[in-house]
Amino acid sequence: MAKSLHPVHFFVTLAWTLLAFWMIFLYAPQELTMGEVQRIFYIHAPLAWVAGTAYTIVFICSVIYLWKRSPLADDLAHASGEVGFIFCSSLLFTGPLWAKPVWGIWWTWDPRLTATFVLWLLFVSYLMLRSYVSSPGRAATLAAVVGIIGFVDVPIDYMAIRWWRTQHPQPVIAGGEGSGLDPRMFLAFMVCVGAFHCLFSYLLAQRLRLARARREVSALRRTLGLRYTEE
């Protein structure tokens, strides 16, 4: 079933991404003050949403793993941690590329940017922990603890621009009175959010397949009495 869904998932992701590209460059109007460079917004903000989704999956699966000791929950948490790291790194890369022409600086330690950097460090620590602890069971338990404790940063990151006055712009979605987007910008933005989540789910499914195959290999090696290796 999962194998037969693979090409469908791939083509849906591809079509959605192409539609998002068309909307970013041809459908959405040009912003008046920032000009062309504002179009980075259509990739930067959805990357932030996906990074939040990825860490939320890590958190939920870590709770399930500690509660039920489910290998599937552990695999899903690990997969989401790795794919989330890619999205969070892209978020930290695209942010300064937008900041430099608009603010005149690449980076500043304001609450939103700092909370996002902490989120990236959490992804890094989660993955390092998984690769440096040699016992797979112990690595899964310790990583789950990091996954749960670190989740506290996700709501702080989301609320930072609502709680404090920051260099980072105030929210344009769900930001209350005075916030909002041009309807065509809003539609383009939502299509991009969908496209990035679709891409995330595709990469997550591939990474999960890899984790399942790795478990199968380990089990077979044990059955055959070969030395256990964790890649």
């Binding site: 000009g35 062309e36 460079v37 179009r39 980075i40 990739i43 930067h44 890619i86 790194s89 892209s90 890369f93 695209t94 590329l97 937008w98 430099k100 022409p101 891409l199 990469l203 591939q206 990474r207 397949r209 890899l210 195959a213 790795r214 199968e216 290999v217 077979l220 090696r221 059955t223 055959l224 070969l226 890649e231």
Partner: protein, 48 residues
């Protein structure tokens, strides 16, 4: 003309995603190969 920051942001993003997808498929192919080798070893052992 496309803004240079916009160009770098978009191109680097897609290069990163393609490299990651490629690394996933490489790792998958290597594991698949190992799995097939182990299964054939298991088959030989059960025949003996």
């Amino acid at each position: 003309m496309l803004n240079k920051y916009l160009f770098v942001a978009f191109s680097a993003l897609w290069v990163l995603f393609f490299v990651y997808a490629w690394s996933l498929s490489r790792r998958q192919a290597r594991l698949q190969k190992e799995l097939e080798e182990l299964k054939s070893k298991q088959g030989v052992r059960s025949q003996n």
